[in-house]
Amino acid sequence: MVTTLEKVDVVTVGVGWTGGIIAAECAKEGLKVVGLERGRERSTEDYSIVHDEYRYAIRYELMQDLSRETITFRNRRNQRALPMRQMGSFLLGEGLGGSGTNWNGQNWRFLPYDFQIKTMTEEKYGKNKLSADYTIQDWGITYDELEPYFTRFEKTAGISGEDTNPFWGKRSEGFPTPPMKKTPILKKFETASTKLGLSPFMMPSANLSEAYENPDGARINACQYCGFCERFGCAYGAKTSPEVTVVPTALNTGNFEVKYNANAVEILKEDDKVTGVRYIDTITFEEFIQPAEVVVLTSYIMNNAKLLMVSDIGEQYDPETGRGTLGKNYGYQILPSATGFFDEQMNTFMGAGALGMTVDDFNGDNFDHSDLDFIHGASLSITQTGLRPILHNPIPPDTPSWGADFKKASIHNFTRTLNITGQGASMPFKENYMSLDGTYKDIYGVPLLQLTYNFTDQDRALHAHLTQRAGEIMQEMGAKTVVGGNPISDYDIVPYQTTHNTGGTIMGTNRDDSVVNNYLQHWDAENLFVVGAGNFAHNGGYNPTGTVGALAYRCAEGIIKYSKDGGALA
């Protein structure tokens, strides 16, 4: 039996950054909003015993319960896709705030080059720089068009930073709060990269340098540098997250309600409009229908794509013919790196998730690619996020991985090792995509999402080149031994890499090249919006959240406009 609830103006599927932003903006305009959150309610009070590496970082306290739902994976089409039975390569979030609760807070705006990558690459290097198998495309929006929304998100989040990077897009305003502390570890990087002729600057951070009140009146506290950010919630309310900003902002209007333990299983569609969302109560397994004037998919990229697929909205991408856009252009992140072993002990266990310095000299098209066999690049950063002992056992090459020599070396190097890591761009490839699995199901009886993904020649070339650059900086920093990250071969879903998955519900200029327009409005249903990193037509050389936040503000504006006037927004 299905219970049909009272109709509302807007329903969001998921209440993290994107759902929270949509809810806050729409509720402030007087629209009645319901957020469907499959996880539980949580707040700063839930993070008072969060300094626990084992519970949060190893056993994934805040992450998705895979016994209920996971994805299946294969490297290539001729393999059998098998379930991701335990998490590894990326960590899917769950609960109020979503991944916005356990993020590090490294907050970026994608480069102007990212949004017009196809046009700008062809202008400079001709049409054949990359083979046609790499399905890059412009995003249907420019950096300048998106700039006000970037500014808006940064003000909501109170981002700490300094506008001294010569390579990023023009900013209409400075950062809301000054940069984080420049620690001795960061200064090493600054001195070395300056000496090499590069332009280091403080990483924009959502761990705030000082207490801040955002334009909605939400308070964010000052970071205490306790070293427990990524995979953790903040005990101090000092890492900007949805549950300390946009969620209370939305709730304070009286126009927003969160339904917890509500797992969406279908978007209901009649003719050319959607009518609501069918969801299952995860405790009782009762079914409900939440009718709404506007449906917004605001969960992680994988569930956004899956919901469209199981609801049969849009055309599934087919790598054989190149037809269809749903599931197309899945992207990940390429992670060049260099590890330096030093003589002196450093306070590597102190820090904050976005305490770092970066150079953008090898990101985007900030350097000449004429003689290189790849496009784009990576931001290269040193971060002092706070290293913890279970996950961090650095050993020089040729050291055994257990036993007496391992113990000595891993203990010795725990406070004597630094890393420079790159957030490397990931170009879409025709064989990398998402679809529905034909065999495995979640506990609600819905098919699992199937991921087909492997690294490409472009990725391997980018990784090798940027690893060299990272190594040069580390060498200049005075490391006794410098070890570059291993060359990448096949993508492996086991070791943790990054939770920066992108694509599948990409944005663009017309229905043939994208799932949504540049207001993130679905081409096949004008009252359906899909927002998140799934909209990225490729992944850029930064963490995604800043760009996701900007897209969410853009989307909210579109929904408000649509609620008044109706019709296609672009």
Partner: protein, 243 residues
């Protein structure tokens, strides 16, 4: 960069790092170090925690002292006692693992365990139908069988290098196990050992926080805002959440 790597050898590393470490680390945190300073001059204050000698009465998953003794010896080979401080046994790691195997970790409560099961490619990860506690039990039994076959003795009576030979055979995937590879079991065992050595003592491992003391990790501290820009390395007495 490449040049430095080429010239690198482990022997060189141990030699140089030993000298450097000896000059920089206070004896109160870590005892004697590798290289020229080696030789057990440490001043570790570890005492054997009460649980470590509790024996079978303290177990929640294992029911048989013989297999628990194998676990004790195997974890100690992975993380041995030395001049830096205690190894897995004195850190209470075997009891930590026993409790974990009895709970959500051992029962794979948060893992997708729906059939069908296929072996899969290496890049596809965990595909066993076995739960972790079943893998541990089978793995420890396989270690005993291997000890009998190779040395005609119980695993726990072997010399250290003989235990290492068996552990290496597991690591190199040379041992036949049912429904799981010996490499997979070895990785679980190694990882669980490190988890027991370094997790907060509220989980029963890392006895006296000596895992953290050896590593220079202060555990649960409220804030480093007043120390994070210090040029000097900060030696901080560790704290547990349970304190």
């Amino acid at each position: 960069m490449a040049k430095k790597e080429k010239n690198f050898s482990r022997r060189d590393f141990l030699k140089t790092s030993g000298i450097a470490a000896g000059a920089l680390i206070g004896g109160g945190v870590i005892g004697g170090l590798i290289g020229p300073n080696a030789g057990g001059t440490g001043s570790s204050t570890a005492t054997v925690p009460s649980g470590a000698t509790g024996g079978i009465l303290h177990l929640q998953f294992f029911t048989n002292n013989e297999e628990f003794q194998i676990l004790m010896q195997a974890t100690e080979r992975i993380f041995p006692e030395d001049e830096l401080g205690p190894g897995a046994i004195r850190l209470n790691v075997p009891y930590f693992i026993d409790r974990q195997l009895a709970g959500a970790y051992g029962e794979n409560s948060k893992e997708y365990m729906q059939p069908p099961f296929y072996e899969g490619e290496r890049t596809q990860g965990y595909q066993s139908r076995l739960r972790r506690n079943e893998i541990f039990r089978q793995g420890l039994q396989a270690m005993q069988t291997e000890a009998k076959n190779r040395f005609n003795a119980n695993f726990v009576d072997l010399e250290g290098r003989q235990m290492d030979e068996i552990l290496t055979a597991f690591q190199e995937d040379e041992i036949k196990m049912k429904g799981v590879s010996s490499l997979f079991f070895f990785r679980l065992l190694r990882q669980a050992t490190l988890e027991g050595a370094y997790s907060d003592p509220v989980y029963n491992g890392n006895a006296n926080m000596d895992g953290w003391r050896m590593k220079g990790f202060p555990g649960h501290q409220a804030a480093y805002i007043n120390q994070v820009d210090s040029e000097k390395f900060q030696e901080i007495e560790p704290r547990s959440l349970g304190m």
